[in-house]
Every structure is written in structure tokens, then in C-alpha cells.
């Protein structure tokens, strides 16, 4: 027999008659990837982002742009994969959305939930998501000339993508290293990469949130 498949055009079925549409969407268990492989890929991503970039802000913006489409897609993927049918509805309020990011998204990406979630006391509509040791900067040592860079800008892009995809436009999600002066020397030594993601929603999101709050309350 020759190797040419005896089939017409259209969807080709493997020998066990199961296409990818027959497989379960829930294949999250044992689907972990090599961290080293990611580290090497991330090196190339940063090298790519560094092309034609003059300052740290632009570089972070480029990393953010790389993460954004991942966030857009992950929102739908994670919702359609969730086993609980009630949980597969898109979050419509700010808190469930942030919970989704801190729990579901973080578990999917990094195998653990985010470390803390806070609301800014000074600025309305600004939320802070803390990560004590971001996986993406695990192996990164910054050179002196780029010491203000935070590679978790990539993760910030993912978060921004999720927010936008869910219909919560933001004025940008940014990643900042938590400085010594805020946390004290000991905390800095314990979590040298501690990062805070600042999520600032647009005014119309806050307006809607208020209306929804009144209607529901």
C-alpha cells in the first residue's frame, strides 16, 4: 500500500477516528511545560523587543504588547475550559474579574495564585496585584543601565489583554518592582523580584460598575 491517504478533501481523521474536536477541552492536568524552555524563549522575546528601542519605557511597552494577545485568548480559553458551567460566564464586575486574574489565570500560567490583591486607597479605579516572585524574572539579573526595567511587563500585558477582552478597558497595566523604601530591607532580601501590577480602569468602567452596583444592591 502506498502512503497516500484514501480520503477526499475536508477534515482528515486520524486512524482512531478522533479529530481534535472530539478530544476534551479540559486537558490542563499534566500539561506543564519546561521552565527552561520558557526561559530560553523569553531571552529571545526580550532580544526581539530590544531592537530599535531607546529607553526602558519603550522596552516595557513592547513586552506589554507581546503579552496582550495572549491575555485576550486566554480569557476565552480558560472560561470555556472551566468545569463549572456557571463559572464560564464572563466576569461582569470588577472584583470577579480581578479574582479570575489572581486565581484562574495565575494558576493556569504559573501553577499558583497571585500573592495579594489590593484596592488603591487614594485613586479610585486603581487596583494592585502583587506577585512576590514573578516566574518570568526568576532567572533575570538586570544590567546596571537597565536597572529600572521589570520583565514582568510581559505579564502586565497578559493581564491587560484579559481586562480588555472582558470589556473592562484600562488605561494600561504596568509592572513595578516594589522598592526598598516601601517594604524595608528584609522584605527586599526575601523577595528581591517582588512586583506590583497597577491596574487602572477607565472612567466608563467605574461608571458602569456604579450602575451595576445600584441595580444589584
Amino acid at each position: 500500500m502506498s502512503g497516500t491517504p484514501n480520503q477526499g478533501p475536508g477534515l482528515r481523521y486520524p486512524s482512531n477516528k478522533k479529530s481534535i474536536y472530539d478530544r476534551n477541552l479540559n486537558r490542563t492536568k499534566n500539561a506543564e511545560l519546561s521552565r527552561a524552555a520558557f526561559a530560553y524563549l523569553f531571552i529571545e522575546m526580550i532580544a526581539y523587543a530590544q531592537r530599535g528601542v531607546s529607553n526602558v519605557g519603550d522596552l516595557e511597552q513592547k513586552l506589554n504588547t507581546q503579552g496582550y494577545p495572549i491575555g485576550l485568548r486566554l480569557l476565552d480559553l480558560l472560561l470555556s475550559r472551566s468545569s463549572n458551567p456557571l463559572a464560564s460566564i464572563r466576569p461582569t464586575r470588577i472584583l470577579p474579574l480581578l479574582q479570575f486574574i489572581a486565581q484562574t489565570l495565575y494558576r493556569h500560567l504559573f501553577g499558583r495564585p497571585a500573592d495579594a490583591l489590593e484596592k488603591s486607597s487614594t485613586e479610585p479605579g486603581q487596583y494592585m496585584l502583587f506577585d512576590n516572585e514573578p516566574m518570568v524574572s526568576q532567572y533575570v539579573s538586570l544590567p546596571r543601565e537597565l536597572s529600572s526595567l521589570n520583565c514582568a511587563a510581559f505579564v502586565a500585558g497578559v493581564i491587560e489583554g484579559v481586562c480588555d477582552g472582558a470589556g473592562f478597558p484600562t488605561e494600561g497595566v504596568t509592572a513595578h518592582s516594589v522598592g526598598e523604601q516601601e517594604q524595608g530591607k528584609d522584605a527586599k532580601a526575601m523577595w528581591p523580584d517582588k512586583t506590583v501590577f497597577l491596574i487602572k480602569f477607565k472612567p466608563e468602567v467605574l461608571e458602569r460598575e456604579e450602575i451595576l452596583g445600584r441595580g444589584g444592591g
Partner: protein, 154 residues
């Protein structure tokens, strides 16, 4: 248990990292270190030429099926140098980078230590986006990892 120093020599013979872990040693200038690394690199090359060539593996129908190894079994050159006051262990990676650990003569388990140092190098130097291969190593996390490791051991 004392580890005196660690040096890393690139495959072209340049010193890309050196670190002293023990205070109270007579100081070498950075130029001395470069000379030391260069001479060791040369000596290592000579000794690997001196040592008898390894047996060429006989190709049988069985092992013929396997892909040839990209890393031929080369002779290794100097592995250990001992004196009354120190012991210098050299480990050469498959790509030609050399790690030199200078320890006390009676230091046990230098092999495990070397393995750990190599592991730290692979993690915090090679996986660092801002490190250029063959260039001097300036990675904060590598330094910190070595500190933690040597402190725990020492």
C-alpha cells in the same frame, strides 16, 4: 571546609568570572588573574594533547542506528592539581567553558560542589536575557546563589 575561589574561563581562554570566598588570602590583581586564567587555558590544551586519544568506538550494526553524538569523547586535560596548601579542580563543560574551584587539600565532595556551581551557571547566567555568551559574567542572582551555596556549605 574551605572554598577559596572560583574562576570561570571561556572557551577562548578569557577569564569571565572570578570570585574569592575566603578573606585573608594574599591578593592577586585582576591582571594576575587574567594571566593565571590564560596560562591555565594553555596548559589545559597542552595536557589534553598529551593524553592518549580515546578509543574510536567500533561501529556495529546495533549502535550504527543511533545518531552520532555531537560531543566526541575527547581527552580532558588537567582535572585536578594538588599542592600542600590547595587543591585546584577543573571541570570543562561540553562546550569548552572551564570551571576552576580552588579549595583546601582535604576538601571532600568537590565534584558535587562543581555540579552545583554548574547548575547555578546554567540557571542564572545562561538563562539571563541580558548575558552575552563569552563575555564577563555580571549577574546579581548568580553571585547571590553562589553566596548562599558556599555559606550553607562552609
Amino acid at each position: 571546609m574551605v572554598v577559596f575561589a572560583l574562576m570561570i574561563i571561556s572557551k577562548s581562554g578569557g577569564l569571565i568570572y572570578n570570585r574569592e570566598f575566603h578573606t585573608g588570602l594574599s591578593k592577586l590583581t585582576s591582571n594576575d588573574y587574567l594571566i593565571l586564567a590564560g596560562s591555565f587555558h594553555g596548559m589545559h590544551a597542552i595536557t589534553s594533547q598529551l593524553s592518549p586519544a580515546p578509543r574510536i568506538p567500533y561501529i556495529t550494526p546495533q549502535n550504527n542506528m543511533l545518531a552520532p553524538s555531537p560531543f566526541p569523547n575527547r581527552p580532558t586535560g588537567i582535572e585536578v592539581m594538588e599542592s600542600s596548601h590547595f587543591r585546584l579542580q577543573c571541570f570543562q563543560t561540553q562546550t569548552g567553558t572551564k570551571f576552576l574551584l580552588v579549595t583546601e587539600p582535604q576538601q571532600p565532595n568537590v565534584d558535587t560542589m562543581m555540579k552545583k556551581v554548574y547548575e547555578l551557571y546554567a540557571d542564572y547566567v545562561m538563562k539571563n536575557p541580558f548575558y552575552t555568551v563569552e563575555m564577563p559574567i555580571r549577574c546579581e542572582k548568580f553571585d547571590r546563589g553562589l553566596d548562599g551555596f558556599i555559606k550553607v556549605r562552609g
